[in-house]
Amino acid sequence: MEIKVRYFGQLAEFTGKSEEIMTQDFKTLEGLKLFLFDRYPKLKEVHFKMAQDNSIESESSELKGTLIDLLPPFSGG
């Protein structure tokens, strides 16, 4: 299954891209997260939330969506 992963805020700087397509299979959101940690170790440095198909879910959730968003908190104002 093809999924699109999008990076928000600082995460885009850590990965060097705002989005990418992945074709690997992941059972859970956490599975995808660990894969991304391996590919982009800097991601480990920040807290972020994951959403699939426009819904923020816990990392133990089954990965069923095709659109995954990675969101860090912002503090600027």
């Binding site: 805020g9 920040v46 807290h47 968003d69 908190p73 912002f74 503090s75 600027g76």
Partner: protein, 356 residues
Amino acid sequence: MSMEERYQRHFQLKEVGKKGQQKLSKAKVLVVGAGGLGCPALQYLTAAGIGTLGIMDPDVVSLSNLQRQILYNENDLGKNKAKCAEKYLNALNNEIHFQSFPFALTHENALNYLSQFDIIVDGTDNFYSRYLISDACLLLQKVMVYGAVFKYEGQVSVFHYQNGPSYRCLFPSPPELGEIPSCSEIGVLGIVPGIIGMYQALEVLKIVLELGEVFNGKLYCINLLNHQTRILDFKKNKEEIAKIKKQDRVFPIANKDCSLDFEVSLAQLSSEEKIIWIDVREEGEVPRLSHLKPLTSALALDSIKDSEEKVIAFCQTGQRSKAFIQKLKKEGIKNCFSLKEGAEQLQIWEKKQISK
């Protein structure tokens, strides 16, 4: 001045009308932080006729603020933002009851001030304040309108609306210190907080007018470089909410990214306030400020422990007084602050106050 004429465009909208205008005039909204987010939010809320508008900000206007904090101009440099904002907003609409608070929201005063309003707009720039506002609003059952920016991106959401989720449902624990850089560290295009602040004002108006859909349980994400927007759903996290409710008071987050609750600057003080001063310097250091009748750092803690008056420590540069106040805080002394400026500036300030 004629209300008919001022709000004519509102009256023409059948969804707003005179009834809606009445709702606006009865609303009590507090904007915490009169900076990049707060300035445009305050302008539109004032123009729209929000009845009671609170403005809270401990900071003074500096030149680097003028790039985005559009209420202020070069004549305001060095003056407190909350007080400056009130002056300009009053000229825009003097039918509004303004309350300016030239000091910081802290875990010691948050419940007291937030309880006086219905809706709180989070226009702050640090996680300490954001978690504080969220937890206090949760305990007081107040609606919080959240907005935050990172470079060219923004986030908007509404918390505790009709028993909806909280900031903690989105981000349960604060990031580590230094994990997420602030605007002062990485910069921001001035118009980005402007747009997000206006979104916050829009949500306030919709909540008061009971119009449309608000971002309740939804995080609005916008990237202003490529115009991509997302509306992400999130659910209430009952465990996180129960945790805050159980503690029944607000605590500072562990990784404090600001020192708002123990530093104070001269621009935040008024001459009418009764202040107990503590001079933490050695005897030979000048200028001496005997007019203020300062206590020395060897004071008996009991004498200030239950003081109703503000306790402020000073030294030559604000460094030693900061360490001293941190010690007092650990001893459980509340309402005590370290002066950001040194004794020399304090002397100039004091002379000005006397000549007023």
